[in-house]
Amino acid sequence: MDDLIVEFLTETNESLQELDTDLITLEQNPNDKNLISKIFRLMHTIKGTCGFLGLPRLETVAHRAENVMGRFRDGNLEVTPEYVSLILESLDRVRFLLGHIEATSTEPEGSDAELIEKLDAVYEGRDAFQNGGVAQAEVKADETSGGLEMPTFDDVRTMLAEQAPAAPVAEEHHAEPTPSVAEAQVKDHKENKDSKESAESAIANQSLRVSVDVLENLMTMVSELVLTRNQLMQIARNDKDSGFVTPLQRLNHVVSDLQEGVMKTRMQPIGNAWAKLPRIIRDLSVELGKKIDLVMVGQDTELDRQVLEMIKDPLTHMVRNSGDHGIETPAERLKAGKTETGTVHLRAYHEGGHIIIQIADDGRGLPLEKIKKKIIQNGLATEEEVARMSAQQIQQYIFHAGFSTADKVTSVSGRGVGMDVVRTNIEKIGGSIEMNSVEGKGSTFSIKIPLTLAIVSSLIVAVGGERFAIPQLAVRELVLVSQKSEHRIEMIKDTPVFRLREKLLPLVSLNDLLKLGNDSHISSGFDHKYIIVTQVGGYSFGLIVDQVFDTEEIVVKPVAKILKDLTLFSGNTILGDGSVIMILDPGGIAKVTGETSMPEDADATAKISSSLGGETKTSLLLFTAGNDAPKAVPLSIISRLENIELSSIEHSDGQMLVQYRGTLMPLIPFNSSVQVGTEGQKPLLVFADRGKSVGIIVDSIIDIREEVIDVQVSQNKPGLVGSAIISGKATEIIEVMHYLNSVHGDWFKDHGDEPYLNQSGSDTVGGRPVARKILLVDDSPFFRNMLCPVLTVAGYDVVAVESPIKALELSERGDKFDLIISDIEMPEMNGFDFATKVRSSKEWQNIPMVAMTSHSTPEDIDHGYKSGFDRYIAKFDRETLLDTINRTLALGGHQS
């Protein structure tokens, strides 16, 4: 049975049972205002809920009974014993219907015409008891609350029954052949008797309402029990022969089960909070004449009931906003080149101990100009200030208190209404909300809610004499490093790095990060330290700690309010030994140590705007070779850094080679001025590709920096992307592909492989090679510069643009391409939207599209296909890229 119906039955049965005791007094005191109001409210609730659940028969009975109760309540009709029987009869009918719904999930056949007639007669004042004298009732009848609502409700119900497959009960009912009234009445009477016997509802007995406070207390006590258990376990561990071991083990199991059970009582799928949203959207779309799809993903994501209650209203509000203000009318959408039907995406998932809820629409986005005007009007900022603000900063003003009301009055279609309240509510439970909106393209709101109340398994580590807990969820692996062994921490300037399976792992020294100020790691030389390989989203990094203890189940307690600003901690807890310990927040650490793709706090507006403004930061390795001018390569494409013994270099056919990990690796000096002698060591940048490696010999490694690459001077020198200012110095950005190609070509030939040039790129039409035209869309100049040569070398004719908007301009200009390769994460317009645009355009709708991104989840890929991409590949994966291009081209046009 539908969860909602079960809940409704439970609730209604409870209210009915409560009424039972009161009803006894009704006969003695028929005009008890309180009781009458109570019955009125119950009927009103039943009526309302039934309309929503699609239970028309019950709704009608409740509705008519409500009308009558309304008259009693308002005092314009006196309750006589005859009316008491009528009230009781109505209640019995309701109970009977409920019983039937409970047993079969559907309403029973038959009609309540007789009862309804009686109720209507009373309501309209034409029954036997009121004849004469109560004519004024008719005048007032319209004012009773039920009378006014009735048409609306019927409309909605009919609409639901007609349109929504979600209301099968309603449809069924309409489809039923109506039996003759008399027959139905006989049947009803019989059923009525049955229902009286089964007055004790089965469902009501199966579930029990418990106040959240009780659960809260229970949870606290279980938490304490868990802590005590941990304490006992620790004692028992030290004393293996003790007789406590076995009973303790049993206790351990029982406590674990108990803990899980209590946790379960508090957890609810977020779908519960979403249940009403499809209806809201449907109503909205009818009301406003829009076509809106609501797509919900992750309904099963569970979260604490209390948290759920707190976010219910903000969520509803935001979804309504998306439908109301975000999505345009079909006509507007068509005009804007979008599909008629707008989509509101609702997504929930766990990430690093948080729950992320996303509300995204593909509507009109936030109207920047209007918000700007409003900001100036409301005196929130001066004109000059506004002029300097980024779009993101301006949009943030919708969260400003008071901004909303002003919006409403002037009916600006911004999303101002109540957003400040939404934000306050979310922040109240320690969450954050951020927003990204592109005018004309839609808006995305992300709500991040921490799991404030949860028992999590954590790894206890020590650094600088202090202990910390790290949620195990984020921990991938542990590595013990010793400077003498193969696993050692290497320094690039002052930045520690570690080679983890052919990859450089950026390291964060917890000691430095937390400013514990104990012995600096440099002096202790990283000997016998542990690296905790931590993953946040798609970003991995290592935390250097001194010691690793056990894992422990801990109860996350929020930190005191005055410590709320410490973003590196997600909470604190009490350990088995009774001491307090801080819980590290891997997400927070990732954020402060430079990973910019992490969601930012809403208050870090400026930061967001810079990262969203297309200025993506790239980790760069700086080195020198030949002259002193620093040179830079993106760290992400370097596989390893080595120090090479120059004496171990061998020469073969004019090619420098070195035996490396059991194979021969070709070496090239970065340029001719790099002196490769026969003595000493030189740093080597190792690039591995398709199981083959190339080493580039350089003079020295300077540093690793995270910078926005802004190529200021482009040179037409081979092997050089251009020059940029990195940490205050003019730095040459190296185009690695140039170097790799110079060796790879030879490399393939040596092994009997054909270089790509002949293998795939050009089609030979009648012996005449025709270069295929490829459009490359990527916001990062670096990737454009890196991929262009790759594709050109492979024989394609490449046009690269920095944004989908530029690409679409080409489309308007009438340029033709054989293939489009597009990045996904781009400012202004992302790859998905771009694909949708391309697919809906006349000129380009059949051009195959390949999505290229650095991180992709299955949902992303799915989304990509839906948007119109034909293929999905990871960045850096050159072989797959070329292979994919080749195969996609071979297939011809877009396969829809």
Partner: protein, 163 residues
């Protein structure tokens, strides 16, 4: 005391001191006597192990476990701009409740509970140190000593804004 007099009392003190008589727990910091309204006091602790909280404001010494509840410890000397105690010196703490959270105020010594008359209460002297003024509700003139009443909520709020 007549109602008239009550009305003329300093508005500053109204929200805390509404009775003619009030109980205070006295504490000693650096030789100065302070009072904390007794209703705010949850507990008095001797020396107790405190876990450091990295990156927290200097006035926060750390957190401790008080019968299963995590209590944030605050060094009142630092809040008042006083020199720290010697390592070897004994110290005590007074646990106060603020909102629904517990805070432990680390002080030198706890004294008696005093019941004080309203008429002995006075506003902060105008020339009082700004830091002190900001966290003091007012003073009581005692025999041979001045008792400074700590405004605990204000003290905690000031910490929230210092960093």
């Amino acid at each position: 005391m007549s109602t008239n007099q009550t009305a003329t009392r300093q508005s500053d003190a109204l929200h805390v001191i509404s009775d003619t008589q009030k109980d205070f727990l006295t504490i000693n910091i650096n030789g100065q006597m302070f009072g904390i309204p007794i209703l705010q006091v949850q507990d008095v602790l001797g020396e107790i192990k405190v876990t450091r909280i990295p990156l927290s404001p200097p006035q926060i010494s750390g957190s401790l476990n008080l019968r299963g509840r995590i209590v944030t410890a605050i060094d009142v000397r630092k809040c008042l701009g006083l020199p720290p105690l010697e390592e070897t010196d004994k110290r005590m703490s007074v646990v106060v409740i603020h909102g629904d959270e517990l805070y432990s105020l680390i002080i030198d010594k706890v004294g008696d509970v005093l019941t004080l008359q309203e008429k002995e209460f006075e506003q902060n002297p105008a020339t009082l140190d700004v830091t002190w003024k900001s966290i003091s509700l007012g003073v009581y003139r005692l025999d041979g000593e001045i008792l400074v009443i700590l405004d605990v909520p204000k003290l905690l709020l000031s910490l929230q804004h210092t960093h």
